[in-house]
């Protein structure tokens, strides 16, 4: 029996055996291949080469599952020098429909179970588990960004997340202003980390505890909608929580919405107007967790029949594959186009082919060289398309871009989309 989204490595034997090393996890979609400069979709491969890409990791997972390999000096790096950005998954589903993301997550979990993970991850894990935020900062400082529009009770909960609460506070302040215009909101009482870093690093048990606490807190509010301006929180609430609960996103008792979706809808209905003029050539960076990683999760159970066809178990319909194309892509683009004076340009790798900023999967903590390479590549793309500024919708992307800028001669401005929206209100 196949249970969608299992966290057990042995449940991905089909994926690991059937991977034929076609390298669709490595190269950009060939139809969209722009030139000879920006050819890879996988930052890990672009930085380290060898087979540090999904096909290599699947082969390793297979050897581990078949008990042909025990350990090696480079095994941890092979598994964890990966941003878990999901670019490989959308590539594979161009050809083979193998569940690459799930396999890689399960591989991490398998390594973590036997204590084989980078020691640099420990501080981040401890911070989330003990202090309930990824920075290990006091809980009382979580709202130091001073929410001005928050109500005590509302149908909409704004989940700020650790990044916007503690570091990129301008994102939280901008979101506060936007939500104020859209009927108000309440904060999640005692908000704590969504658990995203734990999940991305393979610490599933600790993640489940975070999930349970957050779900309980939200249930107590009775709110019907959770809004976030953080792509990582968005994915966690929209995809990972239901997945671990063996539920579909659409069966959650609340709706998970990214601020860009909300603003786009309001603009479409004429409920919001963007004023002012921003004479600038902007490039939109699709955050992995807003785009390809955040398609609604559909829980599925069944079996693999003849020819490898998936056959649903009783009570389930045909499996809906998440192929990365149905993420939140157009809402932020619509918003940026609505800003007067803006010339919106596409980066070389966009939509589900988007290149990760490097701020994900425990990589900045354990492999800063990979994080720095990834963001430098993205900024190089911005330069190649002549962008004056890069805009994203995730505090961690912004943090990455700001850090990357410091080491470059060619400078572009960096914005979170909420800042531009708030400025135009």
């Amino acid at each position: 029996m196949i249970v969608e989204g299992s966290l057990e490595l042995k449940d991905y034997m089909y994926e690991m055996r059937r991977c034929m090393r076609c390298a669709s996890c490595k190269w950009l979609d060939h139809i969209y291949m722009p030139d000879n400069r920006f050819v890879y979709r996988c930052p890990s491969y672009g930085k380290y080469y060898f087979s540090k890409v999904a096909y290599g990791r699947l082969k390793l997972g297979l050897a581990l599952t078949e008990d042909r390999l025990k350990d090696s000096p480079g095994m941890k790096d092979m598994v964890f020098q990966c941003l878990m950005c999901g670019a490989c998954d959308s590539g594979c589903k161009r050809n083979l429909d193998l569940e690459i993301n799930y396999s890689l997550e399960a591989l991490r979990g398998h390594m973590v179970e036997s204590g084989r993970y980078p020691k640099q991850h420990q501080k981040l894990i401890d911070n989330v588990v003990k202090s309930k935020n990824r920075y290990g900062l006091p809980a009382k400082e979580r709202t130091a960004w001073k929410p001005t529009k928050a109500k005590k009770k509302a149908d909409t909960v704004y989940f700020a997340g650790c990044g916007a609460s503690y570091k990129q506070t301008q994102v939280a302040q901008a979101t506060d202003k936007i939500l104020g215009k859209l009927g108000g909101y309440m904060l999640l009482p005692g908000e704590q980390c969504c658990g995203h870093p734990l999940f991305a690093m393979g610490h599933f048990e600790a993640f489940k505890k975070q999930m349970e606490m957050n779900l309980k807190a939200l249930a107590k509010t009775g709110a019907k909608r959770l809004v976030t301006a953080c792509a990582e929180c968005y994915k966690t609430w929209k995809v990972d929580y239901p997945r671990l609960m063996k539920k579909s996103t659409c069966d959650l008792p609340f709706e998970v919405v990214h601020i860009t979706e909300l603003v786009d809808e309001a603009l479409g209905k004429g409920e919001l107007e963007l004023k002012g003029k921003l004479d600038m050539k902007l490039a939109w960076h699709d955050p992995c967790n807003l785009g390809r990683m955040s398609e609604p999760y559909t829980h599925w159970e069944g079996d693999r029949g003849q020819w490898g066809c998936l056959e649903p178990a009783k009570g389930f319909e045909a499996k809906q594959f998440n192929r990365g194309t149905a993420g939140t892509y157009e809402a932020p683009r619509n918003i940026l186009k609505a800003l007067q004076g803006v010339e919106l340009v596409e980066l070389k790798r966009h939509h589900e082919f988007s290149w990760c900023c490097g701020g994900h999967g425990g990589v900045p903590e354990a492999y800063p060289d990979l994080a720095a390479y990834a963001v430098d590549e993205r900024l190089e793309e911005a330069k190649a398309v002549g962008a004056e500024a890069v805009v994203s919708a995730c505090p961690y992307c912004k943090e990455q871009f700001e850090a990357g800028q410091k080491k470059r001669d060619h400078q572009v401005q960096v914005f979170d989309i909420t800042e531009l929206i708030a400025q135009a209100l």
């Binding site: 055996r17 034929m20 076609c22 390298a23 139809i31 050897a63 390999l69 003849q306 020819w307 066809c309």
Partner: protein, 579 residues
């Protein structure tokens, strides 16, 4: 013959590390484990013989490649070069070999004036095509896919429907830089005398014949580190733009210069006449017979989707098998819109005269121009094997399809996928002077049958059987090259290939360390299915070596000093000490 080293010694590892630096060499099993192919795809016997390398090394340039192969020579280490690792035959076949991964050598230089691209061995097709189009040129993407390494692919198949107009790809190889197994560099074409790669021909014997095509070496001897490839002028004033995404991504055609036509032909004879007549009239950019199953692959959006459409249509397809194949034609107005209009009128005259019915088709390209074999190719069973692919006459293609189908239907279906009587893929090449034929089989790799009934076993057997069939019917088969069961096809088709191959190899690679071994199939057959020797009436290559046949004595006499036939200036000697 000296025995190759079985394990990579510390000294050899250090020597490799001294060449490329510690960052670019590894013997970590977490990485070496992944240097084998997975899944089931072409040439499954090669896959069965694969072994993970003992060491992977990633050179950055030709000089490092030279030094690496010299170290391999010094320590008797077998090595396997890897470009993009697309073809299964790329994988190493002996334990503890050195995998020379050339992915860092992804150079791409242009001589725009003479319309030549010079690529490194790690370069793949789609960036080459993107950059070519930016410069007002184009080349062709092979059926193998855009992810295939350009050099590796040019040396082996590089077949595509666009070969109809552009000619076989191997003829587009110009100057070549070639690191021999002993580490010496030779340059072919005009590169031999200057830095200009423009001419494919050069002074002295033209050695390109040793490199290219399915009768060449399939990359067996040495490593090509640079290749100049002839480009063609782009036929459109603007680049074709990608539209849609995911598995639907495609290049949209402008409606005035490039167009697909799908004709349902009333009979096989009409199909044959149409293909001949289109070539005779010298129109078209691509002409092919497309088996019905390919159309289902093309329009399916998942494996489940494919079977939900293919299965229920079985009766319909079976009943119309004589007329089900589609003749697919691509017309391009290379010079003008008027050319497209003219060619369309000629095409419609031909097809109307033959009673063909024009069907619908999407005016865009998912394959051949910028992508290939990545759209639906694997849906039916997750993989496939070509049991025959050959360039011959059009008549041969049709005849070969029939014999292969007969064999498959009578003995191998099931467990192989039933394609309801389809006789393979045929496309015209060289403006109709030749024809490319390919016969694929597919099976369910997870099929729960015993060893001798499994899809994998039957796929291998069909691959051997297809060679026997060719011999029995007097048909030419591509499987006389290094991909073949040499003991079966070698004696039947004459010893020349093996003789030439072995003598040259002995001259340049006396240790047989470059991409070994030749006798893989013998080992696999001995281990896996010795009964095939009786069933299909052949001796293995290694058995033939010892049976006293006169030609084999010649082959093994090792008395040709091939290198001495060439003047000294032909060789770029590099005897520098390493590391």
């Amino acid at each position: 013959m000296p025995k190759v080293t079985e394990k990579v010694s510390k000294a050899a590892y250090n020597a490799l590390q001294n060449i490329v630096g510690p960052e670019w060499v590894t013997d970590d099993v977490a990485i070496t484990e992944s240097y084998v192919k997975g899944g089931e795809i072409h040439d499954c016997i090669y896959q069965r013989g694969q072994q993970p390398p003992g060491v992977v090394v990633m050179p950055k340039d030709t000089e490092e490649v030279q030094k690496i192969v010299k170290v391999c020579m010094r320590y008797h280490l077998p090595y396997t070069p890897i470009g993009a690792f697309w073809g299964v035959h790329c994988g190493g076949k002996v334990p503890f070999h050195v995998s020379i991964d050339l992915s860092r050598m992804r150079s791409l230089e242009w001589d725009e004036k003479h319309m030549v691209a010079i690529v490194g061995p790690g370069q793949i097709h789609s960036p080459l095509q993107a950059e070519a189009q930016e410069r007002g040129m184009y080349t062709m993407t092979p059926g193998g896919g855009s992810q295939a390494a350009v050099i590796g692919n040019m040396l082996t198949c590089n077949y595509s429907p666009l070969n109809y107009r552009l000619g076989l790809a191997t003829r587009r190889i110009l100057g070549v830089e070639w690191v021999l197994p002993n580490g010496e560099v030779i340059r072919l074409g005009s590169l031999a005398t200057s830095d200009d790669p423009y001419w494919g021909e050069g002074p002295g014997p033209d050695l390109r014949g040793l490199l290219r095509g399915y009768l060449g070496w399939w990359g067996k001897v040495g490593i090509i580190t640079k290749m100049a490839i002839k480009m063609h002028p782009l036929f459109l004033p603007e680049r074709m733009q990608p539209v849609e995404r995911g598995m639907l991504s495609t290049l949209e055609f402008p409606d005035n210069r490039i167009k697909w036509y799908n004709f349902r032909m009333p009979s096989e004879e009409a199909m044959r006449k149409a293909m001949r007549e289109i070539s005779r009239c010298e129109i078209g950019a691509a002409v092919m017979r497309v088996p019905t199953i390919w159309r289902y692959r093309g329009k399916s959006h998942s494996r489940e989707d494919f079977w939900s459409k293919w299965g229920p249509d079985e009766a319909k397809i079976r009943s119309s098998r004589a007329t089900s194949s589609v003749c697919r034609v691509l017309l391009i107005g290379y010079t003008s819109e008027e050319q497209l209009q003219y060619e369309e009128s000629v095409l419609m005259d031909i097809m109307n005269g033959l009673g063909a019915e024009l069907g619908r088709t999407k005016q865009s390209d998912q394959s051949w121009i910028k992508n290939a074999d990545s759209a639906g190719m694997w849906w039916p069973a997750g993989g496939y094997v070509s049991v025959e692919f050959v360039v011959e006459t059009l008549e041969h293609s049709f005849a070969r399809g029939k014999t292969l189908l007969k064999e498959k239907e009578s003995k191998f279906t099931p467990p192989l996928v039933d394609e309801y009587g389809e006789e393979g893929w045929i496309q015209m090449t060289d403006m109709g002077h030749t024809s490319y034929f390919e016969f694929l089989i597919q099976w369910d790799p997870e099929h729960p049958l015993g060893k001798y009934e499994s899809g994998e076993y039957k796929a291998w057997e069909h691959w051997v059987a297809s060679q026997r069939t060719a011999i029995d019917h007097g048909q030419f088969t591509a499987n006389i090259g290094s991909l073949s069961v040499m003991g079966l096809t070698g004696p039947a088709f004459g010893p020349n290939y093996g003789e030439i191959y072995d003598k040259v190899r002995q001259a340049v690679d006396p240790l047989d360390i470059s991409n070994p071994p030749l006798d893989l199939h013998d080992r696999v057959i001995d281990e896996f299915a010795p009964k095939w020797k009786e069933d299909y009436n052949f001796q293995t290559w290694s058995e033939l070596m010892h049976d006293g046949k006169e030609w084999w004595k010649v082959l093994t006499s090792r008395d040709i000093e091939w290198k001495d036939c060439l003047p000294e200036w032909y060789w770029d000697r590099d005897d520098k000490e390493i590391g």
